[in-house]
């Protein structure tokens, strides 16, 4: 379960950072919101990179399929990246209503995505990858930087 544990914890960390940025924007403290948003965006993008550069290829190599769930996850990453861009714009414009509205969409989208990964993809990774591959993939993922 080492993949599930590590990756699920990253999801939770992203959630916490996201919520902090949302609250700051709701309070109208834009400098604070920007700082917290950057933290959220960086953690999320690094998490995506860890998956796309290390975890997904390991899974694809093991199962011989690159058009299965990993393809869907990559597509959903693009959707989230698009929203992160829009959130950054709203933040720049200090448009509270737009920012909070985008937050709603982003949160539901992210949670749906996380749920699929946690309940299906990570569970499958932990099941199909040999122990040594799991350990080495995890080590490689921890080294990924943006």
């Amino acid at each position: 379960m080492i993949i599930s544990q590590f990756m699920t914890q990253e999801h939770r960390d992203c959630d916490t950072e996201f919520a902090a940025a949302e609250q700051a924007a709701a309070n109208g403290d834009w400098a604070d919101a920007e700082e917290k948003f950057m933290l959220f965006a960086n953690t999320t993008l690094r998490h995506f990179k860890r998956e796309e550069d290390e975890l997904f290829p390991a899974f694809e190599a093991q199962t011989g399929s690159s058009e299965g769930p990993t393809q869907v996850m990559r597509y959903e990453h693009e959707q989230v990246k698009d929203l992160i861009g829009k959130l950054a714009h709203a933040l720049e414009d200090q448009d509270k209503d737009a920012y909070l509205s985008l937050c709603e969409s982003a949160m539901i989208l992210l949670q749906q995505h996380n749920m699929k990964e946690e309940q299906m993809l990570y569970a499958m990774c932990d099941r199909v990858l040999p122990q040594e591959t799991k350990v080495s993939t995890l080590e490689k993922m921890k080294k990924v930087v943006l």
Partner: protein
Amino acid sequence: MFSQNGLSLDQAPPLSVVFRFFFSGALFGILTGLLILLFKTTIFNAHSLEAIILTHTLTLGVMLSFMFAALFQMLPVIAGVTLKSPVQKANFVQYPFMLGVISLLFAFNSNAPWLFGLASLLLGGSILTIAGIMLKNLIKLPHHSSSSKGILLTLSSLFIVILLALYLTGTLSGLFAGTYYTEVKEAHYSFGLFGWIALLIVSISFQVIEMFYVTPSYPKLVSKYLPLTLLTLLVITSIIGLFSSYIWMFSNILLALLLSGYALLTLKRLTQRKRPLTDATVWFWRMGMSSLLLSMAFMIISQFKEIAALQTLSYIFFTSFALSIVFAMFYKIVPFLTWFHLNSQGYFTAPMMHEVIHPKTAKKHLYIHLATIVTFVLSIFIPQMILLAGLLTILSFGWMTYQIIHAHLLYKKTQETGEKFDMNMG
């Protein structure tokens, strides 16, 4: 391996599949309001014909429609189950289902055996088929979440509710002698309220409370065992109840305690949200859970003291529980799906969630809903108030109908005039 898990790019069913069931549910809600104006306080006598007609308009017409809307949308997300040709299936369910509800209401009113027969055919056929298809897909899942397992049990319960109902309508249409009519009626009623409605909300909440509000997850003990415990309790009680009806008293108290514990836990989870912003949907959940607590408290007291008003209060708050959660889900699902579908289709002019339904609009509905429930409670003591309660019910569901139409028109308009990324570019 993966296709069985239903992970595909176009998992989400077309928007029309979800909207149509919300729409028909809201229309049955308006009908509920009209019936309240017509029946007035006779509905407070649980054994009256008026109460039975009203209950079925609410449970079948409103709640089951909303359940279809939610499940068609949520099964791919929470259980990885994708239903093939969803539009066709939705059509197959919706029309016989709506006709079935109407014929059942007329059957109750006229007591005509052929109408009970027709209603059984239409409702039994449509509900059992779709519940069967969903169940078949859920059973095949290689790994379950607490929500998917809970929904599996909920649908099994719904299956039982309908089979018991067919025994009752079969008796009323003269098909069987109905030796166990009273016992089956008791089981039908308990399975409907606890096994189906309460279990549905419990199962969905395991997933959506965490997902929408970013809270810690429910304790494993609760999410893993509560649905199964509720259903097992109902099955055992129904069997023993065939021989001794006293068992229901113990079972009802136990069920009420379990659900009260769940309600308290959910209220606690809502205070542990990582997203501290409180929108109307959080209040709808709070109102739903508080209503469940009140309903269960009145139910426990009425096991010991036979006071009609206590039972009526228990029913009113149970209805408030179910409808509050429906509204909480509605104000998240409809704006999100409208945005999500248009955004996925490449429209960069896709309206944002707040443009589909603004949080202030949802808040106004919260006040209408709260006023409706307060007026209902008052009308137990001041019968004239029931007319206001009926009007508020119409306003509440009318409000909802308008939001669906508005979202649908916005969706169509964006598709017709919106600017789109050319997906084939480059």
